[in-house]
Symmetry: C2
């Protein structure tokens, strides 16, 4: 059987049926004077979709289509053939069936904040945008869950339940704009996922439109295969989420945050190892190196201790007595590792100031460099100093500057590779350094992505992490869900490969033929 | 991408390559004078397997084969065609390839303690017993993990690491004899899984032989589909585990246990709701009703408070200050809910006495009834009193006695349905009551199994929980892994169904034909 245990609580006590949080028109809401539905796609598909959804839910105007040409991975662009803006799961199922009948690929998109191109559209395909499906359908406090549509903004879930003492734990840094449907596709995490886990750990069930146009319920509770597990994080290649039941997490009784400044990354890394080794599980433990501190200072004036080679932000939350005891321990371990200054946030305002530098680091790097690549890799915590030294060496050799921001607790490294896009060849050199960093991660037993996903950006690295048999096994699952290969094709997997070519799948005459007695 | 974050620590510090814990001969170790390899199976398979493994690793003697005719679900029996006892993953891969070539089904078996018939063999098939593969290959304390073969006994993992302050958290009540490979297949849990999760939460990666005879690595860390998630708990239908990397959990700083006696199940249920509602996550919270207390008393003299309609065992573990504060809170909540006696374990011996009654309850029921069925269902915690009242009514109507033991924190109910197997029709009446209890679970939004799995026992109930489209989606995955349907067929799914009949799978001409450009 799949994951199990925990039965959902029945709906009682504080249960709200919630109206949409806002009714203001969406930025990209289509006007009624949309140009005629010429035939950008085969099989009269545009016209069929307009009949299904209404012409005002179908975008074909080339200028407006360009709005959707990329997600957060801006160096891959492709204008979609058609954009549709459905309101219901039934409409999405109908769209998928129409695409299947016409043999046209389709891609789902939430807010388009993904960083690996998972929502990159296709010129020969349909882009299904879920931004109109943004109702919080139910808040069930005794059952500690909420039911939301895929277009609901991550932070709006917390906004709807904070008054009852709960929140939605996954906290990608885009949480003010990213959608829960996108979080499901990418299994999104954030700084606090060290303690609280990724989106997969906070989704109880999903209503999903499968590539054959059926609406099914995938659940982590109950018997049978844990299809929810394989669906969450499949980057939209196995179907489209149309409704999500999320677990709500109780707001912690207390939160304590400190900032520790170290002379070097090595000293900061030693503090991280000591804290984790002592059995403390911080809510978050983040590290920034000198260059990313410089960038953050330039923009947000977070006033981190001058001269720091690295700063560490450690946040503990939980029951008051536990936090108090462990916080004292963390402080001591930081000092033992050589912290030359430790600041403890006295209140929420001071806590916000500590986080401000970290949260703005990515954007701030834009101040010290005309352009940059955000890399995302994973290494074992204990090799952090060694890997950072190698990154330094790569940087020195190539003359490409690299700033490092690091979810230190779970080994998730975010090198920011800086370049000047006006300088010929600079982008290519930056790409090379960025790729070499991933190789370092793999060499040290890590991974090519910690939280941004594979998408189109990293599919070429998959064979460095997986054997052909490993990848074939994933493809078998994909072919099970999507034998026609129309659901977000070209993502995750490195090789354009037909289902018929995957060993074990559809080889020769049907192997079940005449073997019903096997069951 | 799949689950992610946490990179494994590199192997350093206390890392042992461990020799097999014991070398005494296995009970079922074959002797060299095994009868000749007649042909119980087609294609000269017996002879081929003997060539591959050596004749002493192949059992064909009908008397010895009968040892394997069932697992813990003793009312389903079937003597296997052949039993093989491989030593390595490569041998298992070779066995699977031989079976595939001969079109013969196969079933993997660990210790055979499963309670849903997941390891029930087939007369026309090969039973692959992993009991010889019982080496702990590696203990990596800094990385908080161990690498084990599938035949390793659950408790032996803890025995190997306890000296370093760690343990293996999943604790099925069979943990002294069940195998880690079996835990993976069934996603096993136990009393402490409320706080610590099931096997799925403690497995970092598995080496697996897929039904096409490849050896692949499935990991929860890293990009691509979370195939480990769908594999763990698939009840042996997607392949055979040959090596497991498990997460080790730090032994808690402190443990506190209390026993609270209530006049009624309702009062005990109210205490459970109050404790969970207060945000306390006990390590375990178990409830027994009057009849199961009576059975336990008759056997182990655990001296539970006389006259109790229900007892609750609550265990807290974790950092000292947190446990102390929450334990006082739990005690108060129990009193508020009407506990008439509360006993607090002063030391490990007293703790063991409290647990003794609970742990022996299943077996003890044998003292008050000649035979019984162990049922396993899940209900939302909050409907516990209502469901137990309905079970009482069922019991009164039918004259069939039912004792209830309950993992109260996660709603996992274990009704023990008592009958006299000497009385004509009694077993059938017990089966009917047992089935009606599952219907109650489903009606109340629960599940047909909490931790024992579906196997052959409950496949007929699957359509009551899932729509046809839901089950088809699971079948698609199964057909992806196992298109020939030879890997543990007849388990989990209700209908003998050909892969070709599953919608979306292999319909008509190959849908990828000529569409390589879609990728």
């Amino acid at each position: 059987m799949g994951s199990k245990g925990f039965a959902p609580e029945p709906i009682s006590g504080i249960v709200e049926k919630v109206e949409p949080l806002s009714n203001e028109p969406l930025v990209n809401e289509p006007s009624l004077d949309e140009p005629s539905l010429d035939e950008p796609l085969p099989g009269g598909l545009g016209r069929r979709l307009a009949e299904l959804l209404g012409a005002d839910r179908v975008i074909t105007d080339p200028v407006r289509l360009r709005t959707y040409e990329c997600d957060g991975l801006t160096n891959h662009r492709s204008t979609p053939g058609i954009v549709v803006l459905p309101d219901t799961a039934e409409q999405i199922a109908a769209i998928v069936r129409e695409c299947a009948a016409a043999g046209v690929p389709y891609v789902a998109r939430g807010s388009g904040t993904g960083l690996s191109g998972g929502a990159l559209p296709r010129a020969d395909g349909v882009l299904i945008v879920t931004s109109r499906m943004r109702r919080i359908l139910e808040v069930d406090i005794p059952g500690q869950r909420a039911v939301v549509e895929p277009g609901v903004i991550n932070l709006d879930v917390t906004r709807a339940v904070r008054q009852y003492g709960y929140y939605f734990a996954p906290d990608p840094s885009s949480q003010q704009i990213c959608s829960v449907g996108g979080n499901v596709a990418e299994n999104s995490g954030g700084a606090h996922c060290l303690k609280y886990g990724f989106t997969a750990h906070h989704v109880l069930s999903c209503e999903v439109v499968t590539p054959d146009g059926e609406i099914v319920e995938l659940s982590a509770d109950g018997p049978g295969y844990d299809l929810l597990g394989v669906f969450v994080g499949a980057e939209g290649t196995l179907g489209i989420t149309t409704k999500i039941t999320v677990r709500l997490t109780r707001l912690p009784e207390t939160v304590q945050t400190l900032l520790a400044a170290f002379g070097s990354i090595e000293a900061g890394g030693a503090a991280v190892s000591a804290i984790i080794g002592a059995g403390v599980v911080p809510a978050a433990i983040e590290m920034m190196d000198a260059l990313s501190i410089e960038a953050a200072e330039a923009v947000v004036r977070c006033e981190y201790p001058p001269g720091a080679g690295a700063v560490l932000i450690v946040e503990l939350d939980g029951p008051e007595p536990e936090v108090a005891a462990q916080f004292a321990q963390v402080e001591r371990l930081c000092r033992d590792a050589g912290a030359f200054e430790i600041r403890i946030a006295a209140d929420d305002a001071e806590r916000a100031l500590i986080w401000k530098g970290r949260k703005s680091a990515f954007a701030a790097v834009g101040r010290i460099s005309p352009a940059y690549i955000v890399q995302d890799g994973v290494i074992p915590r204990t090799v952090l100093p060694r890997v950072l030294a190698s990154i330094d060496a790569l940087s020195a050799e190539s003359g490409v500057r690299v700033a490092n921001v690091f979810h230190a607790g779970d080994g998730n490294l975010h090198p920011l590779v800086l370049f000047d896009d006006a300088e010929p060849g600079a982008e290519q050199r930056a790409e090379e350094v960025s790729g070499a960093i991933l190789d370092l991660c793999i060499e040290h037993g890590g991974s090519i992505t910690g939280e941004h996903g594979v998408g189109v950006d990293k599919s070429r690295y998959m064979p460095r992490m997986f054997t052909e048999a490993d990848l074939d096994t994933m493809q078998m699952v994909r072919c099970g869900f999507d034998p026609a290969g129309l659901c977000n094709p070209g993502k995750v997997f490195p090789t354009p490969r037909l289902c018929g070519e995957v060993p074990g799948v559809r080889k020769g005459p049907h192997p079940y033929e005449g073997k019903a007695d096997l069951f």
